[in-house]
């Protein structure tokens, strides 16, 4: 095991050396870094050219420059010495500093998108696998292929046009015409009726319920100008909390486990009570406080589950903990909605909340809620774009993995010994279907750091991809090398982690040491 890891790391180091040499040479030979100065008419042209030549050390041939760079980069291997030197960019900024800034930007952009894409993708994959060759399966498969074929820059521009500009225009007077409400209701009702599966009667009923609900909610939103003053209120939180309690219990333990259901319902009730109690505290929230509150919420949930017990204490704790987290999320969402009018009417925002570029409104003043809303409104479009294009592969992968598992003999055994369908799927099939996904997810997390070059360039986020692209256009090897180094190292480390995790999760796979 240890010798395997050491050998992998040694190979990785050699590969990294070779690849970084190639990358350096390619960047350096991709053009003339002085081209823009040569074309300029500035009187001190020669001086500027000399200064840049000196800054980038252009008099040294590129292969030698690489070894100079490598000397500086090697110091990064010394931990805590603070002597890391990755060179300077064409503007004179140290690369280590630029990388730090870019990394934060990139991670805020891609983390949410990746987590959501994984969650949604896995859910869709499981559902379509369980309903193989149904209308839902065909629909999702087609959507997956469609999303797979979408060029992200095209999606991004469309989102900017309809998601931001169109929605902002709508917010000016948020009245939904009745035909639109009815149309949306009908479309969603038909979708649900097709997707629901089962008897015709069941399909019609669920489609009809969804149609009525959606239309009613939209008419209500329109009549109360909800989009100007959004909010949930304790009643909606209570209803949604009970619904969540039932849903979570169904998935985690099945409704037959009465104690788990009671624990979840108690937690949902506690959530509504906490809505009244916690408002003054939330008025002076900070990021750390929200984080601590979230942990406390989950702990309360787990505690209630523990106290309720039942024949399987673990299940009660899990169900109540997850319900607590979700209801807590609703309370936080409600608080964000309360802050919405303040944000909306802020002089910097001027009633056009959904932003098309950048990572935040410059010089925005406000409390925690307003600033967080600002981040969200800037993140929402790139996040949606990234989710759309990365959703497909997760869906397809989970689906095929789940199908393979469902054909296994031990699933038949589980059914034969009389387990409920829920525990066959959640306990036996789902967990094992996730094993191959661990590899993919680890690999994708490794690739996260590289940022989404195109998304960043469309939405003008100055992250890693932007730094990389900027380095290439200015024929400036140092930023390119900095980004490359981060990406390659994380990719290789996560590759190794993926292999180790696979053998840990699936004991049939053994590492050859």
């Amino acid at each position: 095991m240890l010798s395997y890891v050491v050998r992998r790391l040694a190979t990785a180091a050699l590969i990294l050396l070779g690849a970084s040499f190639l990358v350096y040479l390619l960047t350096a030979s991709s053009g003339d870094p002085l081209a823009d100065l040569r074309a300029s008419n500035a009187p001190n042209r020669q001086q500027l050219m000399d200064a840049r030549s000196q800054l980038l050390d252009l008099d040294t041939p590129a292969p030698l420059r690489y070894f100079k760079w490598l000397g500086g980069a090697a110091q990064c291997l010394v931990p805590f010495a603070g002597t890391c030197d990755l060179g300077k960019s064409v503007t004179g900024q140290p690369i280590t500093e630029a990388l730090g800034i870019a990394l934060v930007q990139t991670l805020t952009l891609v983390t949410g998108a990746t987590v959501l894409a994984i969650l949604i993708g896995i859910t869709l994959g499981i559902v379509t696998a369980l309903r193989q060759y149904s209308a839902l399966d065909y629909g999702v498969t087609f959507m997956a292929f469609l999303f797979f074929s979408l060029p992200i820059f095209w999606v991004a521009v469309l989102l900017k046009e309809f998601g931001a500009i169109g929605f902002n225009n709508f917010l000016r007077n948020p009245v939904i015409p009745l035909p639109v409400s009815l149309g949306t209701g009908i479309v969603l009702g038909v979708v649900v009726a097709v997707a629901a599966g089962g008897e015709i009667k069941r399909r019609l009923i669920s489609g009809g319920v969804v149609f009525a609900l959606v239309t009613a909610v939209m008419v209500y939103f329109s009549a109360t100008l909800w989009f100007k003053n959004p909010g949930l209120g304790p009643v909606v939180i209570g209803i949604a909390g009970v619904g969540m309690a039932f849903a979570v219990t169904t998935l985690v333990s099945g409704l037959k486990n009465r104690k788990a259901l009671q624990a979840s319902l108690i937690v949902a009730g506690l959530g509504v009570v906490s809505w009244f109690v916690i408002q003054p505290l939330l008025a002076q929230a900070t990021g750390l406080m929200i984080f601590l509150l979230a942990i406390a919420t989950v702990l309360v949930g787990v505690g209630v589950g523990y106290l309720m017990g039942g024949y399987d204490r673990g299940q009660s704790m899990r169900a109540a903990g997850i319900t607590a987290f979700l209801v807590g999320g609703l309370v936080a969402l409600d608080r964000f909605m309360q802050a919405w009018p303040t944000y909306f009417n802020n002089s910097r925002v001027r009633g056009r909340p959904i932003a098309t570029i950048g990572a935040g409104t410059p010089n925005l003043q406000g409390d925690y809620w307003v600033l967080t809303i600002d981040t969200f409104t800037h993140l929402i479009l790139p996040t949606v774009a990234l989710i759309l294009v990365s959703l497909a592969s997760y869906t397809r992968f989970t689906r095929s993995s789940m199908l393979e598992i469902m054909n296994m003999d031990y699933i038949r055994t589980a059914r034969a010994k009389g387990l409920s369908e829920r525990s066959v799927i959640m306990g036996h099939a789902f967990r094992n279907a996730l094993i191959p996904l661990a590899t993919i997810v680890a690999f994708d997390i490794g690739a996260l750091i590289g940022g989404a070059v195109i998304t960043e360039s469309v939405f003008s986020v100055h992250g890693m991809g932007f730094l990389f692209l900027d380095g290439i256009t200015h024929i400036d090897p140092n930023p390119v090398m900095g980004v490359f180094l981060c990406v390659a190292v994380t990719a290789m480390v996560f590759n190794l982690i993926a292999d180790l995790a696979y053998s840990a999760l699936d004991p049939r796979v053994r590492i050859k040491a």
Partner: protein
């Protein structure tokens, strides 16, 4: 695959006996190639994809002409003509009409239909070049590494590892620089200046083979341990014969499917690079470049943005469906699973077959689509 070897037939029969118990009779006495063809042409999505791609291909290459041969469309992608109706597209579905400028015109009066067709041509050319180069190198490298193992595998796979982490964007930028450098009078610069698309395709092909090589290697690693390879070796077959006659025909499914998927990714790669300004350069055009040039004009001339994008999606989607059909056709392990009938059979333990054709009416009907 016109002459199936004995191994293929044996494998195909073994496959039906082992894993496709129900509909196996359907494939009785067919070679692997025939089975694959039959399954592919029974795949509705793949057929629609094939038809759509053929349509786009024919339209793109005949309308504006290709390689000096004139096409049937009256404009080309650089001609400037006076604006008709401020460049609004004249094509309409109801009443069905084609008109003077079906996809509209851009600000200076170039015909968007001609530009889109030219862009589609370029994208398809790049896609085919990338697919063939990547397929060839991937098959050779993966095959050699998987068959010979030892130091050959070590060297080739480390090379693969090096190439896989070099960012494609960087290579594209280098190529773009080379193609744009008109002052250099080497033969390469001259060639690159006149055939930018081909050079871009070749370079991208030279870096896109790595995933394929890994897959082919994996396939060779399992196939070389099979009995029929041992039998061939004992009867004195040379390495080349074993590779080309015995292993490659069995690995060709994985290869073809993944070449198709590489090609669909290649379309998106080319358009993305052109969008970022390091792919196809003006005055030539490509679908990505068209979108990049016109994204500012969305509010005034949205059609400049819609049509190239729709063509990217259409090409990519049809290739993906073809690839999916090929995967289903080549994968003999395909088996149906039905949650409902499986649960039913679980409850009534006398039924052992999870999905017998008689179990449910609609199931038997749509089982042909797999």
């Amino acid at each position: 695959m016109s002459q199936p070897t004995q191994e293929e037939v044996a494998l195909a029969q073994q496959v039906q006996h082992e894993t496709v118990p129900g509909p196996g009779a359907e494939y009785q006495g067919l070679s692997q190639g025939q089975i694959v063809r039959k399954r592919f042409f029974g795949h509705t999505g793949a057929l629609i994809g094939l038809a759509a791609f053929a349509l786009i291909f024919i339209m793109a290459f005949t309308s504006v002409g290709f390689a000096g041969i004139p096409g049937w469309w009256k404009y080309n992608h650089v001609d400037v003509s006076p604006l008709v109706n401020d460049g609004v597209p004249s094509a309409s579905l109801w009443p069905l009409a084609w008109g003077e400028h079906p996809f509209g015109q851009d600000r200076i009066g170039r015909d968007l239909f001609a530009m889109t067709m030219r862009g589609a041509q370029q994208s398809i050319i790049i896609m085919v070049i990338i697919g063939s180069i990547a397929g060839l190198i991937g098959a050779v490298v993966g095959g050699l590494a998987g068959y010979f193992r030892g130091w050959v595998e070590a060297i080739l796979m480390r090379l693969t590892d090096v190439i896989i982490i070099i960012p494609v964007l960087l290579l594209a930028a280098v190529v773009a620089q080379m193609a744009g450098r008109r002052d250099a009078d080497s033969w390469f610069a001259g060639f690159a200046a006149s055939n930018g698309v081909v050079v871009l395709g070749i370079f991208l092909g030279l870096v896109s083979w790595v995933g394929l090589a890994r897959l082919v290697r994996g396939e060779f690693l399992t196939l070389r341990e099979r009995e029929f390879v041992d039998a061939a070796r004992i009867s004195g077959a040379t390495n080349a014969r074993i590779i080309f006659k015995h292993i490659l025909p069995n690995a060709v499914g994985v290869l073809i499917v993944n070449i198709t998927l590489t090609m669909s990714a290649a379309i998106l790669l080319e358009t993305a690079l052109s969008y970022l300004g390091v792919g196809v350069k003006s005055p030539d055009t490509s679908l990505g470049l068209l979108i990049s040039q016109n994204q500012e004009a969305f509010s005034t001339r949205p059609w400049l943005f819609w049509f190239p994008g729709l063509f990217i999606v259409a090409i990519c989607l049809s290739i993906n469906f073809i690839g999916d059909g090929l995967r289903d056709a080549f994968d003999p392990r395909q088996k149906k699973f039905r949650a409902k009938s499986a649960t039913d059979s679980g409850r009534h333990s006398s039924e052992t077959a999870p999905a017998s054709p008689a179990a449910s009416g609609p199931a038997a009907a749509d089982s042909k689509e797999s």
